[in-house]
């Protein structure tokens, strides 16, 4: 039991209070009075994270590719600010200086750059190209980049013609081959850090062992994961990079934020210099009014579309499909859900890309008279409405799916002859249901594998597409058109073919494109080097702050 304090000596409370006070004053002085240290590195914040790893043979996510492009190098690259991509003038030399294709389109020859060194001093030559491509194709890991893009369906073999020349022998003539070689799947790996029979994953505490890429503008110096989630990545400039003068920033730090709110607050507070992916539409609108940040808008290549399950009545009837497509109101979606930060899309090929035509405009937006007459002919009316079960995902895999679904429901029901029931499922369950082919109508999205109209057409409108979309669409005429379009490299021929493909698409209406999102980045006012073009390449090496 405590006795009352004797008169001699200080009372307990006073002494403890004094100590605590001293500590607080010291800490406060320490903390408050000094300015924040000027960090040399450029700091970028993102809500993305590496989904699997940064191995070109396996990585198949946007962010993984972003890092591969920063730490690795390919034979060719897409020019920044390119207006549409995949044209001859948009592809620039990278590790290859010259290239040509044989007349039958089956052999591509690349002349390689000489005098480029790996980080360990070895000189880059054609054997490394063969190693990288062969490795990618042989690994064939589940949903690896090579599997997903269908590399092995296109390339037959890689031949080392001479020390600095490599030849690709293709199985089929493939017009977009250059775009494919510019995509991160074809990037060169360092054989020392990329075993031929295994993919390279995250290694705790060892950034070099986690990164099989080399020759790129940056070197990964630090990669931290906490509780299975990416925490931070650090990079420093690669002295051996072939393009002297790049990267623009000596050091780069990427910080990972858990959600859009945290990211928005971070860029607002000035904790980071660049915020890229994914900010909410309302945050971006808010930032446009602020002076402490700069908002960059660019072309997006992400599209969303609605799919009809042709196995389920009445969606086996193209008249019904077209009628529903006509009742959609894309403008409402873009304006309400995305506050104008997305664009109406009337074709599977995005706006701004070669071959795009506003095909679905023929059916119109909120074209209720068309819908009513078309459905009326089949017996649907105000008293006998067409009932649609519309499914969407709820895990945030696509931006604001639930809101899109709500807007779609309201615009379809405004026609007066349609009733929509909404069903949301989280992503894993949604995937399973897709395979079960039990959803009459569902919403999906797409990021390009490589920047070419073929990548927006082949996976969806070719009959092989239904192997993964599961919508059971097959039209042999469409198949022939698509195969012809991808076989040739001649732009004019391809354009006319794609126009035909899109017209046929509107007649069959198996899929209805909804919108194309814009790309956004928010940075501090003194940051330059932001290029948001159709190639979707986020060029970390061009970012610079004054």
């Amino acid at each position: 039991m405590k006795m009352k304090d004797s008169k001699k000596g200080l009372s307990t409370t006073v002494v403890i209070g004094a100590i605590v006070l001293v500590i607080i004053i010291v800490l406060a002085a320490w903390y408050l009075m000094a300015p924040k240290p000027k960090v040399k590195a450029l700091i970028m914040g993102t809500t993305d994270s590496v989904e699997t790893n940064i191995d070109p043979a396996e990585a198949y996510d946007f962010f993984g590719w972003e890092i591969i492009q920063a730490t690795g190098c390919g034979l060719v690259q897409i020019k920044e600010g390119t207006p549409y991509g995949a044209g001859a003038k948009d592809v620039m030399p990278s590790l290859a200086t010259k290239w040509s294709v044989s007349n039958d389109g089956l052999t591509w020859t690349f002349d390689l750059r000489e005098g480029v060194k790996f980080s360990d001093g070895t000189e880059f030559n054609a054997t490394h190209v063969k190693y990288s491509i062969d490795r990618g194709m042989s690994l064939a890991v589940p949903e690896g980049a090579f599997v997903g893009i269908g590399f092995s369906d296109i390339i037959d073999s890689v031949e080392v013609a001479s020390k600095y020349q490599v030849k690709f022998h293709l199985k089929i003539p493939f017009g977009p081959f250059l775009s494919l070689m510019a995509s991160p799947v074809a990037y060169i790996v360092n054989p020392k850090y990329a075993p031929f029979d295994k993919t390279v994953g995250y290694v705790e505490g060892d950034a070099r062992a986690s990164c099989p890429n080399d020759l790129g503008p940056y070197i990964l110096t630090n990669w931290t994961r906490v509780a299975g989630k990416d925490y931070e990545m650090r990079f420093k400039a690669n002295p051996n990079y072939w393009d002297k003068g790049l990267p623009k920033s000596e050091e780069l730090i990427i910080k990972f934020y858990a959600d859009a709110t945290a990211l928005a607050l971070a860029i607002d507070a000035g904790d980071i210099d660049v915020a890229f992916r994914q900010l909410k539409a309302s945050d971006i609108e808010n930032f446009k009014t602020k002076t402490n940040v700069k908002v960059w808008e660019g072309t997006g290549a992400f599209i969303q579309y609605m799919i009809f399950q042709q196995k389920i009545k009445p969606f086996d009837d193209p008249v019904v499909r077209r009628a529903v497509a006509a009742a959609l109101n894309r403008t409402a979606i873009c304006r309400t859900v995305f506050l104008g930060q997305a664009a109406n899309l009337y074709s599977m090929i995005p706006n701004g890309m070669m071959g795009h035509t506003d095909a679905y405009k023929k059916l119109g937006d909120a074209n209720y008279s068309f819908t009513r007459s078309a459905l009326g002919a089949l017996g649907y009316s105000e008293t006998n409405k067409l009932e649609i079960d519309l499914w969407y995902e709820t895990s945030g895999h696509y931006p604001q799916s639930a809101d899109q679904a709500a807007v779609i429901k309201s615009s379809l029901e405004a026609s007066g002859v349609i009733k929509v029931n909404l069903h949301g499922l989280d992503w894993p369950a949604y995937r399973v249901k897709r395979g079960e082919e039990s959803m009459p109508a569902y919403i999906y999205g797409w990021y390009p594998d490589y920047v070419d109209p073929d990548n927006y057409v082949y996976p969806f409108l070719h009959s092989s597409g239904s192997s993964w979309l599961h919508n059971n669409y097959a039209n042999s005429q469409m198949d022939k058109l698509i195969e012809d379009a991808r076989a040739t490299a001649d732009a004019a021929t391809r354009e006319s073919l794609y126009a035909q493909i899109q017209d046929l698409m509107v007649e069959d209406a198996p899929i209805v494109p909804l919108f194309q999102s814009s790309a956004w980045a928010v940075t501090k006012p003194d940051v330059t080097g932001v290029y948001l073009d159709i190639s979707q390449v986020w060029r970390l090496w061009l970012l610079e702050k004054r």
Binding site: D259, A264, S282, N286, A406, G424
Partner: protein, 291 residues
Amino acid sequence: MPMKRSMIARLLPGIASLARGGSAGKIVLIGSAIVFSIVLMTVLSPWISPYDPSAINVGPVISPPSKRFPLGTNHLGQDMLSRVFSGGGVMLQVAVLSAFFCLIVGVPVGLLASYSGGIADKAVSLVMDSFYAFPGLVLAIAIAAMLGRGTVNMALSIAVVYVPSYYRVVRSQVLTIRELPYTEAARAIGARERTILLRYVLPNLVGSIVVVATVNFADAILTAAGLTFVGLGVEKSIPDWGWDLTDGRGLLPSGAWWVITFPGVMIVLLALGFTLIGEGLSELLNPRLEQ
């Protein structure tokens, strides 16, 4: 019969104090008033809402409170006032359903298991204890994820979490009553076990069960909100306060405070109402030493 009188005898001072304006009674009254007005508001919502709560774009998107929209609009242009009026329906249904499930499962199981004693009692107690000791939300999330969206599914997952509480309460009452003299006396005169259960034990449970049920209501509402926050609520076309909170979260950095505030306050009021009823009732039925 002695047990009936004993329960009423216990309630009498409470009711008397209600009449006198005793604090316990006051609390119950306040709580009931809150709950009643919210229920009334929800029931009347189709008539008092100025707009259809699910209709999108009735007003400009994310606009602050104004004359036309006293509580503002959310990111889909829906009127927040209408959504506040009708958003309580889901929570109330979930609360009532979960209490119902708990009652039809927890009470019979508790009665039978604890009354028969022996291995059945120990085994069921073990199972119930493992459920009880476990973080409720995790269990609710797991089961809700399993069953999918919808009011009934949410109620089921909440019920699974709360059945152990009912079980415990029933069990402790049963164990006490089983040893009481009049129960033994009843057995001595040859009354059947079932009669004893139904006419002696059960009526005495009512008081405690009512208290547990009201606490269950309050917790069910909070858990339902939590489940919705994690994405496992009802289908989004149904207006629900929980969804408003979840959606409004992303609007905070741009300064749109009104989307989460009003639905949030309503949830607090509803949970508070039930809690007050529960507190008041428990004081009435088990008066504390300080009285």
